[in-house]
Symmetry: none
Subunit: 400 residues, 2 copies
């Protein structure tokens, strides 16, 4: 791809409707997409070549990070991004290249050291902040900087910053109640010192959380998992010679976009703001990633009707994207989130690509069943970027 891609003035716009794929409602027999009033999305489908994408591979439910990476053309198995890094990106933490990040849970252990509540009674974010301040102030370990930051409710992120650290560590979190937290072990010899540092952090944290300094008795321990550092990943500029930009409201998606070299543009508070931003910066970049989250959130709530409304919200806003008439417009999702399952799922996701050269198929509706009949068939998401680049006439011929 590096060898055959070239820069040109054509514009690619990629709209990710997070978790857009769904399942038929048990009573009405239609999916969220099939139920929604979405004349604009359906019109784009008529002018597009359509298909269904598998983000990772059939049967595999993608997390948000690998789902997006696959769409951006990165093998999501090769470029796996650790839980700790995802959590740090999700709260807009500035990471240095060799920082080790881990996800933490404040939890409750009994006097035998057995975990009785993995979420410390779902303490409030405010109480969480108070705990993080305590740990940041009091924990000191030689030769390493310690940074604990609150996330929502019982969750936090730990950053270890220093020389010669390795993320090759096991978790302390056994991921179930009724067990004691595990000792962190080095998975490679060079991670031995980092394992000692991590265990020392937990030991000091435990002492502080059980002391009189902590007035939240349910949070008397912290569980750590997903030690990781920033992956070594080539930028989109390097691979595709693009000048890419992201318009995303949620920090995790901005963080992920930044990781592969996208410029982060202002996104405002909703899809209307995002498309205003697209207009404002349209001339300055040649690739735009726009991320819409609500479909996934309502799907995870198990709220079919609210997910239908979120789809309609995108559809209502769409004319202000279509009036730019990008050379290549792609609309898809990073995974399915059927309201009936109330979680991410493995089902392939509707996909459409519109360009002057796309060879439209007979699909006239943006939905799971309609896209199954599409000209692209069912295909792996990592093939999206080559298709986008080809339709933007940004690829040279391969071989003579």
């Amino acid at each position: 791809m590096k060898k055959i891609s070239h820069t040109s003035p054509s514009k690619i716009v990629l709209l990710i409707i997070d978790g857009v794929g769904g399942l038929p409602h048990p009573e009405i027999g239609q999916t969220e997409l099939e139920s929604a009033e979405k004349p604009n999305l359906d019109q784009v489908a008529k002018e597009s070549i359509c298909g269904l994408i598998d983000l990772i591979s059939p049967g595999i439910t993608p997390g948000s990070a690998p789902g997006h990476l696959a769409i951006f053309g990165y093998d999501p198995v090769k470029y796996s991004i650790g839980r700790g890094i995802i959590e740090a990106l999700g709260i807009d933490l500035e990471l240095k290249p060799r920082d080790i990040a881990a996800r933490g849970n404040f939890c409750t252990i009994d006097n035998k050291g057995i975990i009785t509540d993995r979420r410390a009674g779902r303490i409030t974010t405010e109480k969480n902040a108070q705990l993080c301040r305590l740990l940041n102030e009091k924990i000191a370990i030689n030769g390493v900087e310690i940074l604990v930051t609150q996330v929502k409710e019982h969750r936090c992120v730990l950053i270890l910053r220093g020389e010669g650290l390795s993320p090759e560590l096991t978790d302390s979190d056994p991921q179930q109640v009724g067990l004691a937290p595990k000792k962190i072990e080095a998975l490679l010899p060079q991670a031995q010192r980092t394992a000692e540092i991590a265990n020392e952090f937990i030991s000091q944290a435990r002492r502080l959380l059980r002391s009189a300094r902590n007035d939240i008795p349910s949070a008397n321990m912290v569980l750590m998992r997903g030690f990781s550092h920033l992956p070594d990943i080539p930028s989109m500029a390097e691979i595709y010679k693009l000048k890419p930009a992201a318009i995303a409201i949620y920090p995790m998606y901005r963080g992920l976009a930044k990781l592969i070299g996208m410029q982060i543009l202002p996104a405002g508070n909703n899809i209307t703001d995002q498309l205003e931003s697209l207009h404002r910066y349209y001339k300055d970049y040649d690739f735009f990633f726009i991320h819409f989250k609500t479909t996934d959130s309502r799907g995870e709530d198990g709220d079919f009707e609210a997910k239908v409304q979120a789809i309609e919200e995108v559809d209502n806003a769409l004319p202000n994207l279509l009036n730019l008439n990008p050379d290549v417009l792609i609309i898809t999702g990073d995974h399915s989130t059927p309201a009936s399952l109330a979680m991410h799922s493995w089902h392939p996701v509707p996909f459409m690509l519109r360009s002057k050269w796309c060879f439209p198929d007979r699909v006239s509706e943006f939905s799971e069943r309609a896209c199954l009949e599409g000209g692209l068939g069912r295909f792996p998401a990592v093939e999206i970027m080559p298709l986008a680049m080809a339709n933007a006439l940004k690829l040279d011929k391969f071989g003579a």
Copy 2:
């Protein structure tokens, strides 16, 4: 494949209609194949299993060489064939295994050494021949044989023949005007001597082209690119235990076929002659590759009507192939060349395979949209040869 293939009397005929795939005409909404009157091709489609092939991978536009290699079952990324070799094959040059070939352009440079015309004003092939004679007569470099051969207009091929040469060299051609030709560099230490020879060739050529011996002042320099040698590639006899033959009019396709061990048969001047040759040699081989070029040429001209006529020309000739009733008949293309794009494109190519054992689908027309509904779906071209061999009953069971 080597382990399970065996020789048998059954015959496989592979007809490549170069660049046959197209895009809908902007006014009539039909592709070149959809517009053509082609009762014989459509009849074969009815009796075949059909599909759409991706030559390299989705979105990637194949050159003719990798497109054909994929159809012959060779991974086109693994077996890449350099520009110089392609050019040499294209003019029927006899190459020795360790020859280094490079593509040359006679060009114009100004008195500061800056390229002002990469094609030397598109000099005639006759003037080109005169330049090549001059270089062949006058250039001498110790320990290496130099052979310059004219191609069409401003193009030539340079062969370096000798011991210990390496093709791991950069180009001197910067591929744009306004720059000076680049010095050729060795990409590997063992190519150092070859780099010196190549630079010495250019230096002597430059002197000769600027001297009074050259009466074509626009051609005062030569640009070199694509240094390469014959790839180390197993023959079709080795892999498939076939005795294969090629009936191709254009030298590049004959050269490519020879490279993988096909016998080159007389091809005459048109598809009618080619099918006569097929009859004549039918008993002597068990695999025939027939190459039809005009569809690609007219597509590259951007001439929709002429490409339709070229398809009809194949269709008219087809009865003289069908009357041989080969055990396996495959008809497809090595890439799409939509007249609307006037170049090779990435769009998948209609494919059909007819045999007693093919399990025909419901496709009744040989076209892009019809083949999308075919029993083979969309699939990689490297799978064609296993399918051909299976349908010819030339493959053993894999495993017990």
